[in-house]
């Protein structure tokens, strides 16, 4: 497939935004259960949520650029019964709205205790955060399923696609939260760095699993089944156009084999290896600059990962477009 830059931005930015919110909320839940001592003031959650909202809205804006008719985008909420894309279109603004409410509650001191369960005070922000968390997870599933539900793209048609979107998003969000904590709550750096390492390592396992799975895939369609002629030696002589068509532009990444393969190693190093090492160092010796470069490296790596994700998918229609003439 041809990787669209807008879709790469969309999926990486909202993944990081979702992860960042989950990191903030995880910390709040830990604090209210008194697993972590001394809960943070509202500003920590408020500013963090504001950054998450900015990331999510940036992703949403990027998504408009891959539409032919952005002014009709509102129509895409219509078919939520059948289309995962439609479900994502509903979930994303819903999630942004609740993260916004969560942030506002914290930032303007609107947080009130609704009730007490034992020693735990259930506050308004905890409830809002719970709703946002549920929407956030559903959004990860919807984003992953957009790709995983297309059975023709065998590289994507696996539960690993959804798992990878979930883990890569949360990993980058927690790495972001580690850098954020270095500025606003240095006592949390080791907490976030620990989780970021766990999530990044788990994502490494699942991403490697999908790489191994995809390497062993056999294309289901062949030239024989595509035109219905039973002969092992069929070659295309003409594809019905000389200057290319939508089919040649949309479904081929158009880069050399070497470029394609090198992107794989680049993203493995930049998403997993370097961040895990840098996070491990930060776990013991927090440094703002180090953590800023960690999230920068990981984010650029994630863009490479997403490029590879799209480029690797081999569409059966490509069988019909092997030779121009």
């Amino acid at each position: 497939m041809h990787p669209a830059f807008s879709v790469i931005l969309l999926t990486t930015l909202i993944g990081m935004g979702q992860g960042l919110f989950l990191a903030l909320y995880t910390e709040q839940v830990y604090s209210s259960l008194q697993v972590l001592d001394a809960s943070r003031d509202g500003q920590f959650y408020g500013i963090g949520s504001a950054i998450a909202v900015v990331l999510l809205i940036a992703g949403l804006l990027a998504s408009f650029f891959h539409l032919g008719h952005p002014e009709r985008a509102w129509r895409s909420a219509a078919m939520w019964r059948t289309s995962w894309l439609s479900r994502e279109v509903i979930l994303l603004p819903g999630f942004i709205f609740f993260v916004f409410l969560y942030g506002v509650t914290h930032l303007f001191g609107l947080d009130t205790t609704i009730m007490n369960i034992g020693a735990v005070a259930v506050t308004l922000s905890l409830v809002l955060g719970m709703i946002a968390t549920a929407l956030g997870f559903l959004l990860f599933v919807a984003t992953g399923m957009i790709y995983a539900c297309i059975r023709f793209l065998q590289e994507w048609h696996t539960p690993l696609t959804v798992i990878n979107y979930l883990l890569l998003g949360t990993a980058s969000g927690f790495t972001f939260a580690t850098a954020y904590a270095a500025y606003y709550a240095p006592e949390l750096v080791s907490f976030y760095a620990g989780w970021a390492i766990v999530l990044t390592s788990t994502a490494l396992i699942t991403r490697l699993s999908s790489l191994i799975r995809n390497k062993r895939l056999k294309p289901r369609s062949t030239l024989q089944s595509a035109i219905g002629v039973r002969h092992s030696g069929i070659s295309q002589q003409a594809q019905g156009s000389m200057g290319g068509s939508f089919n040649t532009r949309e479904f081929f990444h158009g880069k050399s084999d070497l470029f394609f393969k090198s992107i794989k190693y680049i993203f493995l190093v930049m998403v997993f290896l370097i961040p895990i090492i840098l996070l491990a160092i930060s776990f013991y010796q927090p440094s703002k600059m180090l953590l800023l470069s960690t999230i920068t490296v990981q984010y650029i790596g994630l863009m490479a990962e997403r490029w590879f994700f799209f480029a690797q998918a081999n569409h059966p229609q490509n069988i019909y477009y092997q030779t121009i003439s």
Binding site: G68, R75, S83, R220, S221
Partner: protein
């Protein structure tokens, strides 16, 4: 239930591209808007087509055969492109099974084209909406046309009549009979999309001649062989009663 479809006979198709041209002509002049072309007189002309003829070579020289292969939307009975559309712009008509795109609802997200294994959908680069074969829906029901012309433009134009059009759910229709009797098949059956369009295979007319057929058994020039019966052999008078 009606399911309109094309049946394309690969044994007859000569690869003249008349169907491509007439399709483009009819549909670019229709009220649904033009099928735009980009730099049609430039170096890399490209454009939107509903129908393309591809050419494949089967076998290795000298035992080769050229197969011309017209490809358009197959109007699947279980179309995978329809449920993924987020706006409902892609739909399959209940009454005749034609898969259509509502150009006024399409947002141009291209998701449906990902969900078509045949590459039958093409995004119009100027109008920025997804386009595909409509089976000339604006033609086949047009009562202003004589009944014999209420067919898709490609079917009308095909010089050797390699394209048939009809209802594949009616067992007595021309297309159903052709599929049944000439071995009609579907493309990429492995995906379970049940394409409505069928293709008829290449067929060979072969004659098998055996050695004994090379010699004429009743050659009048042959000297007739007459075996003289032995003296002891029964004569005709012994075996018949006349």
């Amino acid at each position: 239930m009606t399911q309109l479809a094309l049946v394309i006979d690969l044994n007859v198709c000569v690869g003249c591209h008349a169907c491509v041209i007439s399709c483009k002509e009819w549909n670019t002049s229709g009220n649904a808007g033009s099928l735009s072309d980009l730099h049609p007189y430039g170096k890399d002309p490209t454009g939107t087509f509903f129908n393309r003829v591809q050419t494949f070579e089967v076998g290795e020289f000298p035992k080769t055969e050229t197969v011309h292969f017209p490809k358009s939307c197959l109007h699947c009975e279980d179309p995978p492109c329809v449920p993924v559309c987020p706006t409902g712009a892609s739909y399959k008509r209940e009454e005749d099974g034609i898969v259509l795109v509502d150009y006024d609802k399409c947002i141009g997200c291209k998701y449906c084209s990902w969900s078509c294994p045949y590459g039958a959908r093409e995004l119009d680069e100027k109008q920025k909406v997804m386009k595909k074969c409509t089976l000339c829906v604006d033609r086949i029901y047009d009562e202003a046309l004589p009944e014999s012309e209420r067919k898709p433009a490609c079917v009308m134009s095909c010089p050797p009549a390699a394209r048939l059009f009809g209802d594949i759910h009616d067992p007595e229709s021309d297309v159903s009979i052709a599929i049944r009797e000439a071995g009609g098949y579907q493309l990429m059956p492995e995906w379970g999309t049940q394409p409505a369009n069928h293709y008829l295979p290449r067929r060979k007319t072969r004659m098998t001649i055996h050695q004994d057929e090379l010699v004429r058994a009743d050659n009048p020039l042959n000297k007739e062989h007459y075996a003289e019966p032995e003296f002891d052999d029964p004569s005709l008078d012994d075996v018949t009663s006349w």
